[in-house]
């Protein structure tokens, strides 16, 4: 009989078969995972931290990669304070979101209300050695701004015509029939080139830069405007108004005119010039002297503004000293000093909040008034009376309902700075206080209350205190100060700005003090002298009385964006009119002569040239705005 085919289970088992235990795989897996956890944590403790890092840091940060504490605070992630240790070592706060908002809007209240933004929010680390830390996700910008370049508003300078005039009378097409064909045409004729090519004669590309070198008189204008080295002549003017060289030298002011006696014609109580140079020191000295005599308030306001700017820059320079360079004792002293300042600020804020603002302000005004009156001279008494009248008016008017218009605000600020100038002159011991007040006056914004400023100052001090305390904590943890603080370029920019302000202050201060108030006849005569003195200058320069506007020819007009000509020249093949078409009909230097954002969109569009915000914009303001 054939074997029967088995269907189903062949037979019963002799014994019970135990199922696999539920931990049979899980337990070894748990041991494996736990072992890995312990291993990695041990490596962490031993200082081998790379396995735990989410990726390599950029090459500039590679030397500190293994020391997580250089950037991270336990339990709080990457800390801004640790970033600032190298990138803003003085704690100036330049890299904060608030300063970004202030730079963009110029509105201190808006800046104070700006949300805090961690550095690491935009600058994402651990993306590899070659990652660009500065490359920020566009979505981040869109949190506050528009979402795409197609929504980019027109440039502010074009929208509001807010560009400050460059201080020159100049038109690319300032043609005078039968006399002058206009700058473009005249240059083309003189150089025997096509008119389209004449732009390059003045707007020259620098070898090491990506943009044009600034237009300079000696290089670009002198060949026509000072053919024989002279801009013209000055008719004789009274020596009481325009001092001859020897009298200026007697005041201790030296200048190149001392060796050019042949250029002066003196006699009959008058002095004239047969030759006038560009930036003629003699003319400028006498203009400054006349200005101080004709418009002492304007002079004082300008000097006050320069002093305030100087004070601000010097404070910034002091802040640009890395905290890391201080030892523990100095850090503690700094903390105590900041805490004392904080206590003072808190007390003043409490007083203002309690409604004592006006009283406190008035009492300080009284101090100022007393100091001005103590000067003893007529000018001081007049200042004191003016202050009294102002204070009475302030008390009667109460708190203004709306902020002052910008122009009026600037006038008031000028008056305040001039008053401070008078006070400092009357009592030099008040100088530190005057400096502080100047700085604050410069920081004021229209409509901002004293309380706002105090709170802003308190926020700044608190941030400083936090930094000092963090530095001390790091020292206690044995973390040495960073070997390199990225300050030098900033410090250089601040130094350059200080040098510039000091030079302007020095030249302004050369003007001797007026002997007393002018009679109407004297005032008229001096004004006429100014007109004569400025005859060679007014062909090109703009004047307000005896004050010459600072020229800023061919300077960038986009204050919140960066534009470089070099990458834009190739697509248009040197055809400047492609973007600056209106320049052929431009009559004044204030003309902007470019097409605005729409002209940018011709190339900056999807699937073409980059539309990233960072192509043109920088989030962080420059060290010296």
């Amino acid at each position: 009989m054939a074997r029967k085919v088995t269907w189903g289970t062949p037979g019963r088992t002799a014994h019970y078969l135990w199922p696999r235990g539920k931990w049979a795989f899980v337990l070894p897996a748990g041991i494996l995972g736990g072992g890995l956890l312990v291993l990695l944590l041990l490596l962490q403790v031993a200082g081998v931290r790379r396995p735990l890092a989410p990726g390599d840091v950029i090459s500039r940060h590679a030397p500190i990669e293994a020391r997580c504490e250089e950037c991270h605070t336990a339990g709080r992630g990457a800390s801004d304070l640790r970033c600032q240790r190298c990138h803003d070592p003085g704690g100036a706060g330049r890299l904060t979101n608030g300063v970004h908002v202030l730079f963009g809007s110029g509105d201190a209240r808006k800046a104070a209300a700006a949300p805090r933004l961690d550095c690491a929010r935009c600058h994402v680390e651990h993306r590899g050695r070659d990652a660009r830390l500065g490359a920020v996700d566009e979505v981040q910008c869109a949190q506050c701004h528009f979402r795409s370049f197609s929504s980019h508003p027109e440039f502010v300078v074009l929208r509001a015509r807010s560009m400050e005039a460059p201080g020159l009378k100049f038109g690319h097409d300032s043609a005078v029939p039968d006399k002058f064909a206009g700058h473009l045409a005249e240059v083309a004729k003189a150089k025997r080139i096509r008119i389209e090519r004449s732009c390059g004669e003045c707007h020259q590309r620098a070898a090491e830069q990506r943009d044009f070198t600034p237009v300079a008189f000696d290089l670009h204008c002198a060949s026509c405007h000072a053919k024989d080295g002279s801009l013209g002549t000055i008719d004789p003017v009274p020596q009481e108004d325009a001092l001859p060289p020897e009298q200026i030298a007697a005041l201790g002011v030296r200048g190149p005119w001392l060796g050019r006696a042949d250029e002066f014609q003196a006699g009959r109580g008058k002095v004239g010039r047969s030759v006038v140079h560009h930036k003629d020191e003699w003319v400028l000295f006498n203009l400054r002297k006349l200005r101080r005599e004709i418009d002492p308030e304007g002079w004082a306001a300008e000097r006050g503004a320069l002093l305030a700017r100087l004070s601000q820059l010097q404070r910034r320079r002091a802040q640009a000293t890395p905290l890391a360079s201080l030892d523990l004792a100095a850090l503690r002293a700094r903390q105590q000093s900041i805490e004392a300042e904080l206590r003072g600020l808190d007390a003043r804020i409490a007083a203002q909040a309690a409604g004592a603002a006006m009283t406190a302000g008035r009492s300080r005004l009284d101090e100022v008034q007393a100091a001005a009156a103590a000067a003893g001279d007529a000018s001081g008494r007049a200042d004191a009376q003016q202050l009294q009248a102002g204070a009475d008016g302030l008390a009667a008017a109460g708190t203004p309902a709306a902020p002052l218009p910008r122009d009026e605000f600037e006038v008031r600020r000028g008056e305040l700075l001039a008053a401070l100038e008078a006070i400092e002159a009357a009592d030099p011991s008040l100088r530190p206080r005057a400096q502080d007040l100047r700085r604050r006056a410069l920081a004021l914004a229209p409509g901002e209350s004293g309380l706002d400023i105090l709170q802003r100052a308190r926020d700044q001090r608190q941030a400083e205190r936090q930094r000092v305390m963090d530095e001390q904590a790091l020292r206690a943890a044995g973390i040495a100060p960073p070997g390199e603080a990225l300050l030098e370029p900033e410090r250089d920019a601040i130094e350059r700005a200080i040098d510039d302000v000091q030079a302007r202050l020095a030249s302004l201060s050369q003007a001797p003090a007026p002997l007393g108030p002018l009679t109407p006849a004297e005032l008229q005569r001096k004004k006429e002298t100014v007109e004569v003195l400025t005859v060679p200058c007014v062909k090109c320069h703009l004047f307000t009385g005896a004050a010459m506007a600072r020229p800023a020819a061919a300077r960038p007009v986009l204050v919140r964006a960066r534009f470089e000509h070099e990458p834009h020249l190739l697509p248009v093949q040197g055809d400047c009119y492609h973007c600056h078409g209106a320049i052929q009909k431009s009559k004044v230097s204030a003309d902007l002569n470019f097409g605005g954002v729409q002209s940018c969109r011709e190339c900056h569009k999807p699937r073409s040239v980059s539309q990233d915000c960072q192509t043109c914009h920088r989030y962080h303001p420059p060290a010296v705005p």
Binding site: A2, R3, V5, T6, W7, G8, T9, P10, G11, T13, A14, L17, R20, K22, W23, F25, V26, P28, A29, G30, I31, L32, G33, G34, G35, L36, L37, L40, L41, R50, P51, L52, A53, P54, G55, D56, C68, H72, A74, G75, G77, A78, R121, C122, V124, H126, R127, G128, D137, V139, Q140, Q143
Partner: protein, 272 residues
Amino acid sequence: MRFSQVLRPKEPGNARATAAASAVLVVVFIAGAAAWPWSPKRGLGLFFGFLATALFIFEMAYPFRRPKARPLRTAKAWAQAHVYLGALALVAVLIHAGFRLPRGVLGWGLLLLSLWTTASGLIGVWLQKWIPAALAEGLHVEALYERIPALMEQLVTEADALMAGADEVGERFYQTEVRPSLSRPNPSWGFLLDVRASRDRALEPFRRIAEFVDPVEKGRIDDLMSIYTEKIELDAHYSLQGILRRWLVLHVPTAGLLMGLLAVHVFAWAWY
């Protein structure tokens, strides 16, 4: 069983719900990434990290389905949740990372282990649907994996007894060609795709030799072929049930490693 049948979910409702949930998560990611800079450390990115962690922890609780299957009541419900929430956890991981490749060792470890664990789990699901059906449909014999060696020994005993009185040709054929492969399991990956794979070729020598022997011996050879057929089926059982048990080696230890790395990742996030 056809391949498409294996792909058909056992509980279509759960599959649809998982697909819908995944789609919702991806839509949330797209909307979130358009509105805010995507970061695994903040906001929605962090939320997805927490979600993935919670799902992975739930996945590791799978052994607790026995003995009482609480709180999901049935082992089947546990298995369904284990499969679909595991798939959803991978989606959450990818969204947490913003669909970007990681940069560090830890990140790569987490991503690769997540992918491997999820993929091995899904392969396990396919095996558990494919193998039992293939065994039931294609074979006569049914056997528990642990009993197969003993059953093979029984077959050898039966074959020895059968061939005790065989002629010289039959005896030589049995001793040289049949008994060596009859006495031990002979697993093969070929059974995975076809449980009757190479059966005809294996039985061909039996058919050939049956043509050259007398009718009495032919009956004996036919019985031997029947025993050998049963052995081949046991081999198929042994191979496929072995795969069914051993795929867990690929799945569970890597899941353990994943949990270890996950703990380190959470620590690093919280500390730094």
